[in-house]
Symmetry: D2
Subunit: 424 residues, 4 copies
Amino acid sequence: METQAGFLPRPSADLLAQLEHIYQDLHANPELSMQEHRTAAIAAAWLRQQGYEVTEGVGGTGVVGVLRNGDGPVVLLRADMDALPIQESTGLPYASDKTGTDRFGQATSIAHSCGHDMHVAWLMGVACILAENRPAWRGTVMAVFQPGEETGQGARAMIEDGMVKRFPRPDVTLGQHVMPLSAGQIGWRTGTILSAGDSWEVTMFGRGAHGSMPQKSIDPVVMAASAVMRLQTVVSREVAMTEAAVVTVGTLRAGMSENVIPDRALLRLNVRTFKTEVRTRVLAAVKRILEAEAQASGAPKPPEFSVLSEFPLTRNDEAATRKVVAALEQHFGADRVSEISPATASEDFGLFGTAWNTPSVFWMIGGIDPVRYEEAVKAGKVDELPANHAPDFAPVIDPTLRTGIEAMLTAASAWLCRGGTGAV
Amino acid sequence: METQAGFLPRPSADLLAQLEHIYQDLHANPELSMQEHRTAAIAAAWLRQQGYEVTEGVGGTGVVGVLRNGDGPVVLLRADMDALPIQESTGLPYASDKTGTDRFGQATSIAHSCGHDMHVAWLMGVACILAENRPAWRGTVMAVFQPGEETGQGARAMIEDGMVKRFPRPDVTLGQHVMPLSAGQIGWRTGTILSAGDSWEVTMFGRGAHGSMPQKSIDPVVMAASAVMRLQTVVSREVAMTEAAVVTVGTLRAGMSENVIPDRALLRLNVRTFKTEVRTRVLAAVKRILEAEAQASGAPKPPEFSVLSEFPLTRNDEAATRKVVAALEQHFGADRVSEISPATASEDFGLFGTAWNTPSVFWMIGGIDPVRYEEAVKAGKVDELPANHAPDFAPVIDPTLRTGIEAMLTAASAWLCRGGTGAV
Amino acid sequence: METQAGFLPRPSADLLAQLEHIYQDLHANPELSMQEHRTAAIAAAWLRQQGYEVTEGVGGTGVVGVLRNGDGPVVLLRADMDALPIQESTGLPYASDKTGTDRFGQATSIAHSCGHDMHVAWLMGVACILAENRPAWRGTVMAVFQPGEETGQGARAMIEDGMVKRFPRPDVTLGQHVMPLSAGQIGWRTGTILSAGDSWEVTMFGRGAHGSMPQKSIDPVVMAASAVMRLQTVVSREVAMTEAAVVTVGTLRAGMSENVIPDRALLRLNVRTFKTEVRTRVLAAVKRILEAEAQASGAPKPPEFSVLSEFPLTRNDEAATRKVVAALEQHFGADRVSEISPATASEDFGLFGTAWNTPSVFWMIGGIDPVRYEEAVKAGKVDELPANHAPDFAPVIDPTLRTGIEAMLTAASAWLCRGGTGAV
Amino acid sequence: METQAGFLPRPSADLLAQLEHIYQDLHANPELSMQEHRTAAIAAAWLRQQGYEVTEGVGGTGVVGVLRNGDGPVVLLRADMDALPIQESTGLPYASDKTGTDRFGQATSIAHSCGHDMHVAWLMGVACILAENRPAWRGTVMAVFQPGEETGQGARAMIEDGMVKRFPRPDVTLGQHVMPLSAGQIGWRTGTILSAGDSWEVTMFGRGAHGSMPQKSIDPVVMAASAVMRLQTVVSREVAMTEAAVVTVGTLRAGMSENVIPDRALLRLNVRTFKTEVRTRVLAAVKRILEAEAQASGAPKPPEFSVLSEFPLTRNDEAATRKVVAALEQHFGADRVSEISPATASEDFGLFGTAWNTPSVFWMIGGIDPVRYEEAVKAGKVDELPANHAPDFAPVIDPTLRTGIEAMLTAASAWLCRGGTGAV
């Protein structure tokens, strides 16, 4: 019995050349989260050109392109579009020198240090091949170009903008991410593949006073410092040795002058977990501690918490993942398709599957030059290769571009019906 | 035997009216530390008009006016000129709406919330009366308009600019400050009247990493937080119950994002003490703790310390102070001249006396409306009256302006020789 | 006008010799707080022999001797009797080698390292001279030998045992303490002379677990450690630079094994203050912090507090103190009677004055050999002389014994009426 | 092909009855680590009776019995003998009411709360069956009754006492432990099965002083408290989310009085890890922090560290474990033999294998009544079943006794040669 994989052609040299050009242009013109106007316009124009029904402005700058091609399953293919507030240091000819203003109002450089430009190019390639080969398959493809993944805003914004009601319910949602694996390699995992990520901004309130009169103050610097020390105990005392959690206070800001006690302190913190029950306990402990620290100081009011982002666990459906892996192994050979450990990164991709209550699968595509990767393995320095969010991270275009297009096409074809003479 | 006090006239109504106008203009046009160009120009022009030899630009914007009036003692009279990075809230018709850029590069409102505008007006009045009454006295008067007192930069800058070599050695240096005492009242003290103030900026170095990988970081947020907690022990454990010290960390800044561990933390701290040996021990303890905290974290290098300001103890010479107090009591009556406790504020006035190794005396002039002050006393709320550096602090012009002029004139006359027929 | 001082004779050489013998015996036979059976029996027998009405067992081992000698003021003279759980290291021929069991059930050495044995000898001498010279004075003398001063239990126990109802109301209560001043010298002060002292035992509750499973515990070691760090902020942030307070956690005990997380931690802490409002604020802050730390840990219940001791401020009545000082200066000469700073030690002597609402005066008697003291002054090492509670502290008998007897006799005679027809 | 398993008989009813009696006697007469005199004597007498060459007093109370039975492999079978300083609360008729003195000099109850009495009974049974069935096998069996496992002293002591030189080198070392699995079940794992455990006693040195004079002290209570807080950061910041470590400070003891600052603090801490590189990093961080905390306090000398115990990782040789598992599955059926996760407990069993550089295998035998276990599973409360070291932990005798004997006999027979007519 022939499997479904393989009934769609590989990308042509022409298409790859065109997409490489587009990729370099996107890389040189990165846009911050929820500001992806130029990128979205490029994706939308491309989809229209291929004959997709295109909806723009979904949840801000989101783009949804639907290609209905006869009866059959509905497959959602997702790419995220946003870049990071980072100063690129790759030295590439197409490196970014763009700047902008981030969500905290800070001026910043911008760079595609997480590789979403590659994700966009992949999905554009997949969309094109599907459109140009309609006779070969049946079903509906929904290409989703999502804004604001880095800040956890985009998938939520699209869903809150009516995604579920406005578009067909998919039978499966598929997504992929470039990672510091050897280029040409694919990594998969059933169950939890990415951690949940919860980020809070916390304001702790004290009372200001001149630095010489602490007795008139409620010192928020001391309050916040004590809170930071206490927060270390969440992981060290409240999470079992055999479970995993991280609580990072990435930002602590209070005061400006040396001799004026400020009236508040700002903390921004991030929690990562791999299990719902661990997440629940950790978040409750963080809240309990911050509130008690305010009480220990005699604070005039409890801390204020606001959610900066809330990334769910990225969990791959067991059966759907097996189906994807079988197709990938047949297409690429088993030696290019490996099971990987869960990663401590987070994604909002999973929200689509949850919103429609439909299985979803997310996998990893290597982006590191294979020779360089091999050398790092030999030297025991794989950990030191540039990873996502490092200023010098950028995938090698070949074979990364090709591999991602083929992988998503192959995964999609595991659901889509074979076209042709009516055979299924 | 007649005392020296009283051989100089009180300010005329005309002079007071003129100075009130000048005071209001200065108040409405405050200038930040080391940027007192307009104020200095006003003072210099005034001194020149009175016949002083005027040197401008001493230590930046400092002004020194010398009036040589025959043989006799040299008396240095000092006023400071700078305002504060504060948004004034007095609601006065002549309130400031000026803005500028502070020493940390931050945009800020500016206000004369410490009353240095009054100090300038006082010394202008004193300079005028001395100049207009040369026959009544003999000696040399040196009027010093100092920049940058608030930041502890000004006196040092003037001294480093050759003050001691370029100008006559005074027999005494005299200074006065407006304070939240009842207007018309004068406060004095022998020995230590103001605390030493030492301010440091400290950078603690860690290693940055993604928030999900603390094991790759040396977390400077935790390092700084632990340091802040440990610094509390300097006062609680290393200073005797019967001694006094304050260690305030007014600023703690690290990171910007919630999920990126930064690579350093910035602290700005201020230490106040009343005794040299306590100061020495406290500063050593602060340094020891910050260095050990870096070691506890395994920091890549020790903290870097830079001195933001270094205010000496303001100590009044015993004999010179008794001389000033005797003159003041004779002029104002003993009920307007009171001994006060040392204050936790700091001044760089003392550096002049130290530079020339000459006695110095510093005293306080009340600035609060007497009726309001009395009500606060009755209500037990003297502590709640607006104090220096509060946004709603501003002295009542009358009798504060008059009192300060007469007080400095009286104190100066305790050294200057009586003029006329040679009698002393 | 002749003062009252001086109408009673100085101690005879015979009496001094007898008292020296008694003192050495008491020194060699110290008894812990509330266990002063032998000492009390010696004092009671002595008083009876002199003709006093003696009541024993007041508040445990307290002894009250009343000598009614005609109309006139009532004067309470107090000595405390208890020793300390300390291993004496004086090397004196009459040093203690006694042992016993302290209030926490611990076996311990015992020594009179606070000099209460001298206090007992002083009061025995005074009682004897008063009894033997009844014609010279009129009034009532009440000699009080108090137990348990070190633990703050004794004065309270006597008062709770009906002291106020069972004995005459004194016109003044007088007490004195041997201190590391030069022997022969007397130190006095109006107002606060000794700090208030509050000691608490605090149990913080967690939940025990095996050391490998902190997630099943609520770790009381971490809870107590965080509490200790936070308690440092009471003095560093909540007490003004110009006020005085000490918060010492003298004991922290939790767990026994290295790999079992215990279920509770024990803290014993001591607070010293010189002002009622500072004491109130500090004690409230200590309680607030300990309770909030339990909450930060998610403790199963709030900490339990028990008062170990509660020493009031020792405050000398202004008028009564002036009266004592005038008498002492006349008797000893002004150069042996000096004003001193408040000491950080604490006493329960003040409770008697409070209980009867009567003025009280407490002063210090030097006990250090004058030659040794003088050398320490010259070397700037007065601070290093053995002080009360040091294992090598013991007063020189001469002139300390004599001075204390004469001082108390002189102070008492400032209240007692002169007797007879002018006879002395 | 017939496997080796099964050529030795199961224990007879008589033997089981005899061993049950012995087990109950051992349980009622527990002995603390390195004090197992009675237990060792019972084991030695038993071995002698069976014809083993017996050496007593190896490493204190260790017993080694060697049974040479022709050419063939040498198999080391190990049981540990010591009990715990715990008050038993099982309510069993044969519960312990014994008391003794632990290694810290504390009086304590003693109980077999870790099940080593069962281990002794198992090995006695195995030794008997092997001795009674010599014709059935060939090779050498070495029965090792080890002291002091709980304190990590025993295996080390035996090895330091010449174990390797005095006895034959085994081809494999085998050990087993009773655990809160369902009785009759066996758990196994290749690679790391138990964590490394390192326990240190740390003395931090300060300087003592009266509680009112912290400035004369270097407060070890504050030093230790700060150290405990800082130690939390080892797990929270220096161990990757995906790695495992525990750092528990089980004991913190400083001071006795509330108003005396002690001169030192005692900490006892325990570290658990599953990987050598994590262990190395964690132990280095603990040391670094404790030393830096002493420096932060200005301690008179660095902390003193002493190793309380040092349990290696218990790692099962891959090939040897597969061999044991195959034999167990054949004997018990696959449904009674399951792979388990690594446990956070520690053992010194691995030291024997390391000393001889020979493979070792350690497995778990269930001890919980199966009905009770099943109910706990259904209620989701397996975690709440009494576990080793709980005062109410004790295995059910049947089938635990039988299962352990058969398991060890089966595992041994996977190495021993089959006897009889020479066939293997």
